[in-house]
């Protein structure tokens, strides 16, 4: 019963969030520019053409009526049609999804593995050279602005050495109706730099968390008990320490994965990676309002859903949470 209450409360809050966000986003994107000028040919269009295009898009209506139309369309599952691509906006977002997902998934997997590894390495040897190196290097890694990191990866990984391509997805393979790059050698090569750009700050973040957790857990009585019992260091580390530090790591992995869907737009713009983030940036610049709304809603829903999943995982990973909830 308590669980039901928690879930319904969360759903209600998520719903409220989406309503408020759609309202703010709607007013926001409708307060800038006039998309008609991006649609008609500005040199040949007569005032009559412009007027007709405006009426066709419903832009002559007052804002509140446009919002009502938007909500009405939403109730039938439609975000409207893209002004630029003349495709249903939500389908357009979905078609770009596989590119962003494979980027974010690879980045977060690498970050989780490398970050946890570094954190355990440093945390079991507090105060040593390795530990201090990890602590200092991670601050630097967290300070690099992601767009500059991406550009430096382009400069050193592509322009100067020619090891990796500087942008694009390379050749893709169709699987389950989506295009995937990681299934071809060429696609994998294209993935390396953008994945690194997304992963590096997250490796640092996870390493710091894992290190702090390890330092704390290593001092705990149960670790000393395990030592007294004669268990090997490796056994203690992976069977006892790791599960105990996993909670904050799972949280940050979930949150960062959601954040990546939003933050990937910088990395995607630089590497010309045709994902959701690049679509959002391009649509904002082209004033393609239906696509902007569809993308914003999609990212928000994903983020909220991931938050909820993380909360549920808590209960699975930590029995204490189950009892107190």
């Amino acid at each position: 019963m308590a669980l039901f209450k928690v879930i319904s409360g969360r759903l209600y809050q998520a719903f409220l969030l989406l309503v408020v966000m759609s309202l703010i986003g709607f007013v926001g994107i409708h307060s800038v520019g006039n998309p008609v000028y991006n649609i008609v040919n500005i040199e040949t269009a007569t005032p009559d053409d412009i007027r007709r295009a405006t009426e066709l898009l419903g832009l002559d209506q007052p804002l509140w009526r446009q919002y009502l139309v938007f909500v009405q369309n939403l109730a039938t599952g439609s975000f409207g049609t893209s002004y630029i691509y003349h495709l249903p906006a939500f389908e357009l977002v979905l078609s770009k999804l596989s590119a962003t997902i494979e980027l974010a998934a690879f980045a977060i997997l690498i970050a989780a593995a490398a970050g946890t590894g570094l954190g355990l390495l440093a945390g079991t040897r507090p105060g040593t050279l390795v530990d201090r190196m990890v602590v200092i290097v991670t601050v630097y890694a967290l300070s690099v602005p992601s767009f500059w990191l991406s550009m430096m990866l382009v400069l050193f990984g592509a322009v100067m050495t020619g090891w990796f391509p500087s942008g694009g997805r390379g050749s893709t393979v169709d699987l389950f109706g989506w295009e995937w790059s990681f299934l071809t050698a060429d696609g994998l090569k294209h993935l390396v730099l953008p994945v690194l750009a997304l992963a590096i700050p997250n490796i640092a973040l996870i390493a710091r968390l894992a290190r702090a957790g390890t330092v704390e857990v290593q001092r705990a009585d149960f670790v000393r008990f395990c030592l007294a019992k004669g268990l090997s260091d490796r056994h203690i580390l992976f069977r006892h320490t790791l599960p105990n530090i996993s909670l904050p790591i799972v949280t940050i992995v979930g949150l960062q994965f959601g954040g990546m869907l939003a933050f990937a737009m910088v990395v995607e713009s630089i590497f010309a990676w045709p994902g959701v983030g690049k679509l959002l940036i391009d649509s904002i610049q082209l004033l393609d309002r239906p696509v902007v709304m569809a993308t914003l809603t999609f990212v928000a829903i994903t983020f909220v859903a991931l938050n909820a999943i993380v909360d549920l995982l808590y209960a699975v990973l930590d029995p204490r949470v189950r009892i107190s909830a």
């Binding site: 966000m21 767009f147 500059w148 430096m152 983020f303």
Partner: protein, 291 residues
């Protein structure tokens, strides 16, 4: 706390503050303040820019009689001068927005904790809404709505940042508000405003102070990112982010200096702020010392 221990503590604080990153940070601030004197060129003044010296590599002599130490960009602007002037914008935007966000968040957090009930509910729901979306997304919506410009970007960053302060401060203020001294002042004929400002707020301020440097670092990065995406400060007022962005198209043809150096300055600035923030946190919050 005796006078001696507090003296020793403040001594430790002063000594702790004399680190390399803090020195670098001080240099950055100094460079930003003295930019008009230090910079050989004013990159905002088109008359001082020689268009035919565009994209000169580092070390080229200028026709104006000085050396382009770090080269010029695609318009002929001296990169070193762009960095110095860009620093001003980055620092002003981040410090002003973080300070304003801290003031707003602090006040709302304390007010929520003091009044409780519906005031608390309204403020905290707004905080929840704000924090349940990725920062970048909130910043993006805000800046698109507000439009470009330095004042707009400050406003957008305030909108992004206030909620974090409000949440952290409220949790501390809640426990403070339950203490006997607050009950005691509540029995006196003092206005709510006075109790909040003179008694509750000073005792709830610590977490906001440890948060401030971290948020300033975030603000520098966010401003640069928004400017990089072409949504931040306008092109004729180059910030560090937009200077880096300008260089992107030249990067692929090997003219690395346009984005390399300003980006490195940005990176060093954020790193220095983050290290300073770590120091402050260590001194103010003993629990995080193991981090």
């Amino acid at each position: 706390m005796t006078i001696m221990t507090s003296l020793r503590l403040s001594q430790r604080r002063i000594r702790g503050a004399l680190t390399l990153p803090n020195g670098i940070l001080a240099l950055f601030v100094l460079a930003a303040i003295t930019a008009p004197v230090l910079a050989p060129q004013n990159p905002y003044d088109m008359l001082q820019i020689l268009g035919w010296e565009a994209s000169s590599p580092p070390g080229t002599m200028s026709g104006n009689g000085y050396r382009y130490l770090l080269g010029t960009d695609g318009l002929g602007r001296d990169i070193a001068s762009c960095i110095l002037y860009g620093l001003r914008i980055s620092l002003v935007v981040s410090v002003v927005s973080a300070a304003a966000a801290a003031a707003i968040g602090l006040t709302l957090g304390v007010v929520a904790a003091y009044f409780g009930r519906w005031v608390d509910a309204v403020i905290m729901r707004a905080v929840d809404l704000q924090l349940s979306l990725p920062t970048m997304l909130v910043a993006l919506i805000a800046i698109v709505t507000l439009g470009p410009g330095v004042d707009r970007i400050i406003l957008a960053l305030i909108i992004v940042q206030w909620a974090t302060y409000a949440r952290v401060v409220r949790s501390v203020a809640l426990s403070e508000a339950g203490k006997p001294y607050v009950d005691a002042v509540r029995t006196m004929p003092l206005s709510h405003g006075r109790i909040i400002l003179r008694h509750l707020l000073p005792n709830s301020i610590a977490p906001a102070i440890t948060l401030l440097p971290i948020e300033i670092g975030h603000a520098v990065a966010l401003e640069a990112t928004l400017s990089f995406l072409g949504l931040g400060v306008p092109m004729d007022q180059p910030s560090l982010g937009s200077t880096v962005a300008n260089g992107f198209q030249y990067l692929l043809t090997g003219q690395y200096w346009i984005s390399l150096f300003p980006g490195f300055a940005l990176f060093a600035l954020i790193a220095a702020i983050n290290f300073a923030g770590e120091d402050i946190r260590r001194l103010w919050d003993p629990r995080s010392r193991s981090l």
